[in-house]
Symmetry: C2
Subunit: 179 residues, 2 copies
């Protein structure tokens, strides 16, 4: 069970030590099927519905669960193209990094933006209805954005694995060892 430590919006202390096996099972089940009914979930984790729902609410409030999303198929919707873009900036000053991140947040075609260590500064995951749409975005938006030095793009030929979230198996394994 999650201990409701009210540390004023502060940083959580020791992450998953605050979760008991039932909480972890709940998270695992909801990660696999986010629309499961509460009664079904309760059945699976081995407690009755009311406490199960309380746990879910608490997990949501504490930020362990950030939200729920339908997993829509991009291809079926006409987004045929997926691209990874490796971006290098000219200046790595914090203000410039933030400015670029903010720009990414405003580009709908950019779904993910992660700052990296090493020679490349950012990796972007992009989707687009077709190649020409992406090319237009690339040349008229990304490449011409302030402070952008180099961009290397790679088209996704095919997806081999795309699992959401985290591997709970690894977490359990790890917790059983440290016990």
């Amino acid at each position: 069970m999650v201990y409701k430590c009210e540390n004023e919006g502060g940083v959580p202390d020791v992450p998953s030590h605050r979760l008991d096996p039932i909480d972890r099972k709940i998270l695992s089940e909801l990660q696999a099927d986010g629309r499961m009914t509460n009664v079904e979930l309760a059945k699976r984790v081995g407690i009755s519905a009311p406490p199960c729902l309380r746990r879910v609410r608490t997990l949501e409030e504490q930020g362990f669960i950030r939200g729920y999303h339908a997993d829509v198929d991009p291809r079926e919707l006409g987004f045929e193209v997926q691209v990874f873009a490796m971006v290098g900036l000219q200046s790595q000053a914090e203000a410039d990094l933030s400015a670029f991140e903010e720009r990414c947040r405003n580009w709908p075609l950019v779904r993910e933006c992660h700052m990296l260590n090493g020679e490349v500064d950012f990796v972007l995951k992009c989707v687009a209805p077709d190649l020409s749409t992406f090319q237009t975005f690339l040349t008229s938006q990304l490449l011409t954005a302030p402070n952008v030095g180099s961009v290397k793009t790679s088209l996704v030929i095919r997806g081999a694995k795309d699992e959401p979230g985290v591997p709970f198996e690894v977490l359990e394994e790890r917790l059983s060892k440290s016990a």
Copy 2:
């Protein structure tokens, strides 16, 4: 509304042309909040609950919705490390590509695996509880896997954007132009 063309498990013909504005709104709403109740969803898309639920079911069956997932916070759960790995193989024969993909599917730390064009063959998105766990995986699993030529890893310093799914705004814009 989705036309229930029963083309025997075949490839869908013209993707989102089979979806009317209400269907797209449904997908958009469920992508943003996958646990929304059906009544709330119906209210938002402007129809009553029963037809709304029927549409959702159809969208699920037709594969537009692949599933629902709780979005759990990796950090809160003790997964402190996120890494992108660019992998080059020695042989790009189809059998060897497939073999590597299958291997990725069995590695829990690897959450995503995409085949790319260009010099790099695959990009992998990995998570791990800490750096040493990842290093162990890297050296004793990934680097020693058959046919793996080169691996360049980049640690994620910070995440700037991480939106699930597709930008419906782009889809709507596109459909309004072609009309």
